[in-house]
C-alpha cells in the first residue's frame, strides 16, 4: 500500500472522486468538476486547432510563405467570425454552405458504393452446398430481407408482409441482444479503468 506522492496523481484522484460523488447526489463538487471539464476541453481544442490546423495550414502559408492561393479559404474562414456581429451573423452561412456542399458532394458516391452495393452483394446466396457456410449465408439472406421489410412503410403490413416483418423483429431482437451484452461489458470496463487508476496509480494497492 504505497500511496503516490505525485501531486498531479492526487489532483486526478480527487477529480475522479468529485465526479463519482454524483452517484450519491448531484452536488456543488460535481458541478464544479463538470464545468472544469468543459472549460479545459475547450481550451485544449483551441490549442490543437491552432497548432495543428489554423496556423500551419492557413496563417503560415498565407502570411509567411506568401502562397496566395490560400486567400480564398482564409476569406471563407474569416466569415465564421461574423457570428460576433449580430447584424451580419448570417455570413457564417457562406463557409458552412461551402463545406456542406463540397463534403456531401464528394461523399455521396463512395458512400453509396460501400453502404449499399457492397452490403447488398455480400447478401447474395452462394452455390448450394450442404455446408455450415451455406446455412449461415441463407440465414443472413432471410434475416436481411425480413429486416428490410420491417422498415418498409409504403405498404400496409398485412398477410405475408406481416408474417415476414414478424420474422424481421426476431432478428432485430437477437441483434439488439448482442449489442446489449457487449454494451454491458463496455460500461463496466470504463469503471474498471478508473478503479485500476485509483487502486494502482493512486493507492498502490495492486501492482
Amino acid at each position: 500500500m504505497n500511496i503516490s506522492h505525485d501531486p498531479w496523481i492526487w489532483i486526478a484522484a480527487i477529480l475522479t472522486l468529485a465526479i463519482f460523488s454524483f452517484l450519491y447526489k448531484d452536488n456543488p463538487l460535481y458541478k464544479f468538476a463538470e464545468h472544469l471539464l468543459v472549460g479545459v476541453t475547450v481550451g485544449y481544442y483551441i490549442n490543437i486547432y491552432w497548432h495543428n490546423a489554423a496556423y500551419p495550414y492557413v496563417i503560415k502559408p498565407l502570411f509567411i510563405e506568401k502562397n496566395l492561393l490560400t486567400i480564398i479559404p482564409f476569406i471563407f474562414a474569416i466569415l465564421y467570425f461574423s457570428i460576433l456581429i449580430p447584424k451580419y451573423s448570417y455570413f457564417i452561412r457562406y463557409p458552412i454552405g461551402f463545406l456542406l456542399g463540397a463534403l456531401n458532394g464528394m461523399a455521396i458516391s463512395p458512400e453509396f458504393k460501400e453502404a449499399i452495393l457492397v452490403q447488398t452483394k455480400d447478401t447474395i446466396l452462394p452455390q448450394f452446398s450442404l455446408s455450415f457456410d451455406f446455412l449461415n449465408s441463407f440465414i443472413i439472406f432471410i434475416g436481411t430481407l425480413t429486416v428490410l421489410i420491417y422498415f418498409f412503410f409504403s405498404l400496409e403490413h398485412k398477410g405475408i408482409l406481416r408474417g415476414l416483418s414478424r420474422i424481421g423483429i426476431i432478428f432485430l431482437m437477437i441483434g439488439f441482444g448482442a449489442s446489449f451484452g457487449y454494451t454491458v461489458m463496455a460500461r463496466i470496463s470504463l469503471l474498471i479503468g478508473r478503479l485500476i487508476f485509483l487502486l494502482k496509480d493512486w493507492l498502490g494497492i495492486i501492482s
Partner: protein, 205 residues
C-alpha cells in the same frame, strides 16, 4: 438574397462539382479536387470559432444573470487558462499543457462515463424486464453473448463461446445489415436534399 440564396447556391454548386468529379479522372479534375480538399481543411480549421463563441456567450449571459455563478466562472476561467498555457508553454509531451490533459481532462472525462456502469447495474436490477416477447428474446440473446464473451463461458463448455460468436456472426449481422442499409439510404438522402436545397436546417443556425 445575400442571406439565403447565395449560400444555398454555393452549397448547390460545390455539391454538383464534387459529385461529378468522382466520375472524371482527367488531370484537371484531379487538380480541382486536390485544391478543394485543401481549402476545406483551411476553412474547417476555424470551424471551432462557432462553438467557442456560443459557449462563452451562453455562460457570460448566465454570469450577468447571476445564475449558478461559480460554475460559469470556473468554465470561462479554465477555457482562458488552458488556452494561454498551451500558447505559452507549447503542446509537446511533458509541458504543463500536456499535464493538464493527462491529469485533469482524462480523469474527468473517463470518470464521467465510468458512472454509467453504476446505472447499468441498477437498471439491470430495476428496469430490464422480459415484459414482452421482443424484450425476452433480447435478454436471452444478451445473456448468451455476455457469458460467451468472458473466460467463465469457456470453462462451462467450449460450445458456449462459439455459440455466442455465431450469434454475432449470423443473426446479429443480418439485423445490423438491414439497419445499415436503411441508415445508409437515410444519410445519402440527407446529403442529396442538402445539395438540392430541399433540406435547409443549416440555414436556420
Amino acid at each position: 438574397m445575400l442571406q439565403k440564396q447565395v449560400p444555398m447556391f454555393i452549397c448547390f454548386l460545390m455539391g454538383l462539382l464534387l459529385f461529378f468529379q468522382f466520375y472524371i479522372p482527367a488531370s484537371w479534375s484531379q487538380n480541382f479536387y486536390n485544391t478543394i480538399l485543401r481549402w476545406i481543411l483551411g476553412i474547417s480549421s476555424f470551424a471551432i470559432v462557432l462553438g467557442v463563441v456560443s459557449l462563452i456567450r451562453h455562460h457570460l449571459r448566465k454570469i450577468r444573470k447571476k445564475e449558478d455563478l461559480p460554475y460559469s466562472i470556473t468554465l470561462i476561467f479554465s477555457i482562458f487558462a488552458t488556452t494561454l498555457i498551451g500558447f505559452i508553454g507549447g503542446i509537446k509531451s511533458g509541458t504543463l499543457f500536456d499535464k493538464i490533459f493527462n491529469y485533469i481532462q482524462i480523469p474527468l472525462q473517463s470518470s464521467m462515463f465510468a458512472i454509467l456502469a453504476f446505472y447499468m447495474a441498477s437498471a439491470a436490477y430495476r428496469a430490464f424486464r422480459a415484459r414482452n416477447v421482443e424484450a425476452t428474446l433480447l435478454l436471452l440473446s444478451a445473456f448468451v453473448v455476455m457469458i460467451g464473451v468472458i473466460g467463465i463461458g469457456d470453462l462451462i463448455h467450449p460450445f458456449v463461446p462459439s455459440f455466442a460468436q455465431w450469434i454475432l456472426d449470423v443473426p446479429n449481422l443480418a439485423a445490423k445489415r438491414g439497419i445499415a442499409i436503411g441508415v445508409g439510404l437515410g444519410i445519402i438522402a440527407t446529403s442529396i436534399k442538402i445539395i438540392l436545397g430541399i433540406e435547409r436546417n443549416w440555414l436556420g443556425r
